[in-house]
């Protein structure tokens, strides 16, 4: 129900955007740009690339707003576009998603240590940025953007099991980085 309320609040602005109303489009930009920029930067890990992706995403969204049918919140529809734009940037850099063997860290069971740790948001965020590209993206999509493995598989065009294994390795690597 919460999502429904959220959706209704912005409905009038979205409707005006459908008619190409510049002021309404600017309102939408102001409402969403910061959150969407953070989504983009978690994927690209690069300030300038995130800005490019964000600009393209807003343009794309405004021009194809008729594709927004209201079956999700506008925010999650927009977020999908932002993610796809950011991924397009990454693909230009040719990120390899799957190959499990390529990372040489040791697999350990961290859960024991985890209990004693005091987490700091800044530490975690910095550690996420230090993750290898493929790990960072899967972990961000799962933990921060709230997609499940099936959705991530679709977004990244990989199998669900790859998403799961990639995530579990990403999490272990993240723990190592946090402990440093």
């Amino acid at each position: 129900m919460e999502a429904q309320v959220f959706y209704d609040i912005h409905q009038p602005i979205i409707e005006r955007c459908r008619l190409g109303d510049r002021k309404a489009q600017y309102e939408v930009y102001k409402l969403y740009s910061k959150a969407m920029f953070n989504v983009a930067i978690r994927i690209t890990n690069n300030y300038a690339e995130a800005e490019d992706a964000l600009q393209e995403a807003f343009l794309n969204a405004f021009q194809h707003i008729t594709n927004f049918k209201g079956d999700s919140t506008f925010g999650s529809w927009l977020k999908k576009i932002v993610i796809n734009q950011a991924l397009a940037v990454l693909r230009k850099r040719r990120v390899q998603w799957s190959s499990i063997e390529e990372h040489d860290f040791e697999e350990t069971n961290d859960s024991g240590d985890e209990e004693e740790m005091n987490f700091q948001i800044d530490t975690i965020r910095n550690a996420i940025q230090l993750l290898p590209e493929g790990y960072r993206v899967v972990l961000s999509l799962y933990l921060l953007e709230g997609y499940d493995h099936q959705e991530i598989a679709e977004i990244l065009n990989i199998s669900e099991s790859t998403s799961k294994s990639q995530y579990s390795r990403a999490k272990q690597k993240l723990m190592q980085l946090i402990k440093k």
């Binding site: 920029f37 794309n60 405004f62 021009q63 194809h64 740790m117 975690i124 723990m175």
Partner: protein, 193 residues
């Protein structure tokens, strides 16, 4: 779910710490304007180009006809003075009759392109219909005047102008609707994933 996962999810908002260094809106707005201009220009060339050319020729022929008619009237040739008990446009000016037929079919053709539901949805229906109704009644009055008025050139010119105006109004209407709807036809690639 591990403690780390729990912690991150519980503090989800705190992770949006990056601020945009520059305002991207100017760039977005500029590109939106550019693309809109482009697509309007494209529509302009795509659809009625041939019809504009045809209209231009008709208007030219009409102008010449009117010019000739004026000369005949002044010179007192029989055709110029035809005024039967029941005169019609064809007798007074065959060119005008042609133009009338041409514009009427053009108007109907253009009207067929308009979806009345869409016009209504945009709240334009009333203005739009009102304009056309006013033009229509003006036209009828002009037609009556044409029989009695000695200076037929002026009336004929006004009648042609009237017909052209209607076509223009309908075209503007179509353009507005096309601008609003243009995105429905295109599926963005980025949404296909």
């Amino acid at each position: 779910m591990s403690k780390l996962e729990q912690f991150i999810r519980n503090n989800r908002q705190e992770f949006d710490t990056f601020d945009l260094g520059s305002d991207l809106w100017k760039g977005i707005e500029q590109k939106l304007n550019e693309k809109e201009k482009k697509s309007i220009r494209l529509l302009w060339f795509q659809t009625p180009m041939m019809r504009y050319a045809a209209a231009a020729i008709i208007v030219f022929v009409m102008g010449y006809g009117v010019f000739q008619l004026g000369r005949y009237s002044a010179g007192g040739t029989p055709e110029g003075r035809v005024a039967t008990a029941n005169p019609n446009v064809t007798q007074i000016s065959p060119e005008l009759a042609q133009a009338e037929a041409y514009y009427t079919s053009l108007i109907n053709e253009e009207k067929a392109l308009l979806d009345p539901k869409e016009v209504e949805a945009l709240g334009l229906k009333d203005d739009f219909n009102e304009d056309l109704v006013v033009l229509d009644s003006t036209y009828k009055n002009l037609k009556k005047e044409l029989v009695t008025e000695p200076n037929k050139d002026r009336i004929i010119a006004a009648m042609v102008k009237n017909l052209q105006l209607r076509v223009e109004i309908i075209r503007q209407q179509i353009e507005t609707l096309q601008r609003v709807n243009k995105n429905q036809r295109k599926e963005p690639k980025s949404l296909s994933i």
